[in-house]
């Protein structure tokens, strides 16, 4: 297996979405190719860092404000539909 072949399979490998034979071939490649091992490991870390980053969390006060606005717009839209 070449490094570009490994890279093509990287997403399925990290997601655990592959058959046992392909997985074994990829892991064999990882045994001896340090560069692919680093790329694989740091890509996994990239995903985990974003997943755990709490980037763009919705603050409670804004959450309340948005919910009130959404429900009031929904009620208005329901009423205007009822009238028509």
């Amino acid at each position: 297996m070449t490094c570009s072949e490994f890279l093509k399979e990287l997403t399925d490998y990290l997601d655990g979405a592959m058959d046992a034979q392909t997985k074994a071939e990829l892991e064999d490649h990882l045994q001896w190719c340090h560069n692919c091992f680093v790329v694989c490991n740091t890509t996994k870390m990239t995903i985990e860092i974003y997943r755990e980053s709490h980037l763009y969390e919705l603050p409670d006060d804004l959450r309340g404000k948005l919910r009130t606005a959404i429900l009031s717009r929904c009620k208005c839209s329901g009423e205007s539909k009822g009238e028509s």
Binding site: T11, D15, I49, I70, C74, S77
Partner: protein, 209 residues
């Protein structure tokens, strides 16, 4: 190497009951659905638009549209996937308004495979997130993902941040499964490449001093 596990759990079995009640006009049932997914929609909208005010508008407009179109929800997919599809469309529309000079499309496939080939292969520090304060880390992550094309960061946020499956992501974005996989791979590799300069092992390296 252990695989990445999906973050989002299966929705509670009462979701369909809430959808049916909301369809019958029960606004409190719809409020429950808003409470369940408003944080997710806000995150997705922020990732796509990269603008907080736009994200707030997207949250409002997406839920309003969902409410108005509940009768058209066929229940063939999860309510959440259907809602995400609405939210993504709203977010892309706002992005197009802000950047009329640039075509914004989920179909864009602007560069060749070359752009994702790893160039930086230095290993990272064992706990890279601890190299920075919480505020610094958020700034780095925000700035880095902002640099990705919208079509890549949309797939990344749905698959890797929100934990949708490949099939659900394809369904929400109206893309084929190979298209989702290709964008996801390139998004992951490009983010990895850009984060390497902040997180690489500093022993003998030239990372942050």
């Amino acid at each position: 190497m252990p695989t990445i596990q999906p973050k989002v759990e299966e929705p509670a079995g009462d979701e369909l009951r809430l959808v049916h009640a909301a369809k019958a006009g029960d606004i409190s049932a719809f409020e429950e659905l808003v409470k369940r997914y408003d944080r997710n929609v806000f995150r997705i909208a922020n990732h796509i638009t990269q603008n907080r005010e736009d994200a707030e508008d997207v949250v409002q407009d997406a839920f309003l549209k969902a409410y108005q179109n509940l009768a058209n929800f066929q229940e063939q997919s999860k309510f959440y996937t259907w809602l995400v599809r609405i939210a993504v469309n709203e977010a892309l529309m706002r992005l197009r308004r802000r950047r009329p000079e640039r075509m914004v499309s989920l179909d864009e496939d602007i560069k060749t495979e070359e752009d994702s080939m790893p160039r930086e292969v230095a290993d990272w520090a064992p706990n890279p997130e601890q190299l920075y304060s919480q505020g610094e880390l958020k700034e780095i992550l925000g700035k880095t993902i902002q640099g990705l094309p919208p079509s890549f960061r949309t797939v990344f946020v749905l698959r890797d941040v929100e934990g949708l499956s490949t099939e659900e992501t394809a369904d929400a974005l109206d893309l084929s499964i190979p298209a989702v996989k290709s964008r996801l791979l390139r998004a992951r590799l490009q983010l990895r490449e850009r984060l390497s300069k902040y997180f690489k092992n500093r022993v003998g390296g030239d990372g942050k001093q």
